[in-house]
């Protein structure tokens, strides 16, 4: 129990530090949101608009950084992430709410699929090392080595532009309104196929490789030999003894990759015009939209933190050695 309490305190302190750093970093960035908006419009917005926009955002009043920090915590504790500049006057929380489900849904499912398939394939290859199955490794490694945006563009060129099988952008048919109807869900699946497939293809190599190498190590352990000597079925030995131990490091890296889902998908969202949070953060950064940036960072930091907590505890449950103290 003491273990859990100590870990709990550690995570609370980490969360405080994360939120504070989150507050400081955007303010260390050079630049000014109004200038960024003017730059983006490149002459389309008359220079006389600058004063109006400054008034609109309330940037014409000066506040000390300390006051801003207190305001920030005050808003945060009320569940308020502030108002976005880029999407003025929409609250940041609303923008995150609008984009987060798409990222978590698509990338989440793709990550789980890549993890499951990769781990299974890795188990197989590791157990039967030295057979034809080993040739899968260089193939999958090739796809993970190829830059993702290139893979995405090639896939769009082949399957959307030339063959016309799949749409090239968006998360669902643009004439539809999100609703839980079979048509809409079908549309989401259809539009999600290419992005999800490319993510799986480009990330599966890591899972295969990790699992295969652990399987190779584990399969020469005494307890595996014992299990085989007991006359257990091949299946029982692989999954009950070898894979069960080999999968431990996979679990911890899976938990970490869950945390990165939220922030690590910018390129997919750009290539496929997917309305997720990665692109929202990118937009916020290029526009010096402090509040939106903080909101996105907060969600990302907290999700990494939560994934860590979960990994820590799951690991502790799976592997009693980690709970032992002294």
């Amino acid at each position: 129990m003491r273990f859990f309490v100590r870990r709990g305190i550690f995570y609370v302190v980490t969360a405080w530090a994360a939120v504070t750093i989150n507050f400081i970093i955007p303010r260390l960035m050079p630049g000014d949101p109004v200038k960024a908006i003017m730059a983006k419009s490149q002459g389309k917005l008359d220079s006389s608009a600058e004063a109006a926009i400054r008034t609109l955002f309330g940037l014409d009043e000066d506040k000390s950084v300390w006051q801003q920090y207190l305001d920030y915590w005050n808003l945060l504790l009320h569940g308020n992430l502030g108002v976005s500049f880029t999407y003025y006057p929409t609250p940041v929380a609303e923008m995150i709410q609008q984009t987060l489900p798409w990222t978590v849904g698509l990338v989440g499912i793709a990550t789980v699929v890549a993890f499951l398939v990769g781990t299974l394939v890795g188990t197989g290859i590791g157990w039967r090392r030295g057979t034809w199955a080993d040739s899968l490794l260089p193939i999958s490694t090739f796809f993970s080595a190829v830059p993702y945006f290139w893979l995405g563009l090639v896939v769009i060129a082949i399957f959307s532009v030339n063959l016309g099988w799949f749409p090239s952008s968006g998360a669902y048919d643009r004439s539809m309104v999100p609703a839980f109807t079979p048509e809409f869900i079908g549309s989401v699946l259809y539009y999600g196929t290419l992005p999800a497939l490319t993510i799986v293809i480009s990330s599966i190599a890591g899972w295969i490789l990790g699992m295969r190498n652990m399987m190779v190590t584990v399969s020469s352990e005494d307890y595996v030999t014992v299990a085989q000597a007991k006359g257990l079925s091949e299946r029982a030995v692989v999954f009950g003894y070898a894979a069960r131990n080999a999968v431990l490091p996979q679990i911890s890296s899976f938990a970490l990759s869950l945390g990165f889902i939220v922030g690590g998908t910018l390129i997919m969202e750009m290539v496929f015009s997917y309305p997720g949070i990665g692109f929202l953060l990118y937009n916020a950064t290029t526009n010096h939209d402090y509040t939106l940036m903080q909101g996105c960072f907060l969600v990302i930091t907290l999700s990494v933190l939560v994934a860590n907590v979960v990994a820590d505890f799951v690991y502790a449950v799976l592997d009693p050695r980690t709970r032992q103290e002294g």
Partner: protein, 560 residues
């Protein structure tokens, strides 16, 4: 073996998915029978990323309706202006007429009769007066006339607005002012109101909205008759690449994105229907030269550089042919500038002439050393640095070409790709550069372009924050002429004033206009025709602006 399996799997998946969308597509088109035409949806795409639900037409930034452009088919402006020739009789729209007094400090606006808001209420002059009053009450939405509106009063069907300064050069901004209904906006704060259920006078009504797209259907009671496009769908793409793909595959049929090599990438995909059109105006990109430091403090050197920079080559290579070439020595984009050309400069074209440039330099006391490098009269080798933010590829390519041109004079120029924030905050305002490219405000007359470059009223010494005139050009005659042009009450005075400015531009070369930057748009005539064309440029061709209502009303189903 494995690949074949994968292929069948993918094919199977796509078949299921195709089936799913086929069903939904059918469901979507079945209710398209209203509104005439052949029922095809017109899809308008912009590369603006995911949107937030904000349909306000007044807020200067953050509104999805303005960003994608559908604000302009729901709400309407006072008049329709043609960007190619902004001052030529504007077409009455929500206003029957707008009459200015002699020095452009007061305008009388007569409201159109027989117009109703889409909720059934009658549109009156009160609505115009109310909207203009909002601009006074809320400086945050007054982006066109900061601090310059004096008063607004309404009497019968006429609204009178007074300004604290002459608005000749800004008159189009008033004509393009969008009007909102008083009965719905009088109780809200227009700086935070998101107007999710917009009520306007325009030809279309908002039907559905999602972060990806807005769908609009015709307004059956529109004062201008029923529109012929059955449905408008405004889609947002995350970047230029995605929109380019959508335009080339026909998924989007109207929009604007910079497509380098647009002839091959876009038009060649469907030469019969795909078009790209540029829309006039006075927007341009200028190479600002620092007139107060070496080597550009010498007019002879500025003139020599002007003589070797090949505008056509830059427009073609750096601007991918999208931005039109500047041909007139006055720097004015044509044909917009024709009516302002000084008599003695008509037909004077820019020409690359290295020999003439060298003669000019020799006359001014420049020499060339043993390495063929240019040496100024003080005995120093001439070099300069060109700077622009990294990542602004069209600008940086243009700088590279200017650098190559300078080499013909024996000058070693360098191109520095700076950090964007540093450029905005330190380099541009304080004049910490020798030469840099910057855009100008568009405007209805060449006043903005010249004033942004040469107006002594914006002159501040090096090291202080400049808003325009980054090159620190100072010529009292020009400053006075620019002020006269803005405030003059007769045509002759204005012509004389702008001629003075042009003469100074040609003689002093305070900076180099590199190319014009008009409004450009891409569209496909596969389903609808009637867009502005190069031959009949009746409006700015972009979907984002008050002209959208006029263009949409001009569209008709394509007859095959």
């Amino acid at each position: 073996m494995r690949t074949r399996k994968l292929a069948t799997m993918v094919a199977g998946l796509s078949a299921v998915a195709l089936l799913a969308t086929a069903c939904s597509g059918g469901g979507g088109t079945s209710d398209d029978s209203t509104g005439g035409g052949d029922g095809a949806v017109l899809t308008i795409g912009m590369p603006n990323g995911p949107q937030n639900e904000n349909q306000s037409p007044l807020i200067p930034t953050g509104s999805a309706a303005k960003s994608l452009g559908y604000a302009w088919v729901i709400y309407e402006s006072l008049m329709q202006v043609n960007d190619v020739n902004p001052l030529e009789d504007p077409e009455p729209w929500l206003a029957e007429s707008v009459t200015w007094n002699a020095d452009y400090t007061e305008a009388k606006i007569v409201a159109r009769e027989g117009v109703t808001w889409s909720d059934g209420e009658e549109f009156t002059a009160e609505d115009i007066g109310f909207t203009l009053q909002l601009l006074i009450d809320y400086p945050a939405i007054n982006n066109n006339f900061p601090d310059q509106i004096g008063s607004v009063s309404t009497e019968g069907d006429t609204v009178t607005i007074t300004f604290t300064a002459p608005q000749y050069v800004n008159q189009v901004k008033l004509l393009q002012q969008v009007i909102v209904p008083e009965h719905l906006w009088k109780d809200v704060d227009p700086t935070t109101y998101t107007d999710t259920d917009p009520v306007g006078t325009g030809p279309y009504l908002l039907d559905t909205w999602t972060p990806q797209a807005a769908t609009l259907v015709p307004n059956p009671d529109y004062w201008g008759g029923e529109p012929k496009v059955a449905k408008l769908q405004y889609s947002s793409y995350n970047d230029n690449n995605a929109l380019t793909t959508a335009l080339t595959t026909g998924e989007a049929q109207w929009g604007w994105t910079f497509i380098a090599d647009f002839e091959d990438v876009f038009i060649a995909k469907d030469p019969e229907h795909n078009h790209q059109v540029a829309g006039g105006g006075f927007g341009s990109d200028i190479l600002f030269l620092n007139n107060e430091t070496k080597p550009f403090n010498d007019v002879a050197f500025r003139k020599a550089l002007n003589l070797v920079v090949d505008r056509a080559q830059i427009s073609n290579l750096a601007g991918a042919g999208v931005w039109p070439v500047i041909t007139s020595v006055t720097g004015m984009p044509m044909p917009s500038g024709e009516q302002y050309l000084a008599d003695d400069l008509v037909g004077e074209e820019l020409e690359v002439d290295v020999d003439a440039a060298k003669d000019l330099l020799t006359d001014a006391g420049y020499t060339w050393n043993a390495d063929d490098k240019l040496v100024d009269p003080d005995g120093e080798v001439v070099t300069f640095e060109l700077v622009n933010p990294a990542g602004w590829n069209d600008y940086l390519t243009a700088l590279d070409l200017i650098k190559t041109a300078a080499a013909e004079l024996g000058v070693d120029a360098t191109v520095n790709a700076a950090n964007q924030d540093a450029w905005f905050n330190d380099i541009i305002p304080f004049g910490n550069f020798q030469a840099t490219l910057h855009w100008t405000d568009g405007g209805a007359t060449p006043w903005n372009m010249y004033a942004n470059l040469m107006d002594g009223a914006s002159y501040v010494p090096l090291g202080e924050t400049a808003t325009w005139n980054f090159g620190r050009y100072k010529n009292d005659e020009v400053t006075q002429a620019l002020a006269e042009f803005k405030g003059a009450s007769d045509e002759a005075a204005r012509s004389a004033a702008i001629a003075t400015v042009q003469k100074a531009y040609v003689e002093d070369v305070p900076g180099l206009v590199i190319w014009s930057r008009p409004a450009v748009a891409q569209y496909s005539t596969k389903n609808y025709t009637g867009f502005p064309t190069a031959d009949d440029l009746y409006a700015n061709p972009q979907p984002t602006g008050p002209q959208a209502a006029r263009i949409v009303m001009n569209l008709e189903p394509t007859q095959d």
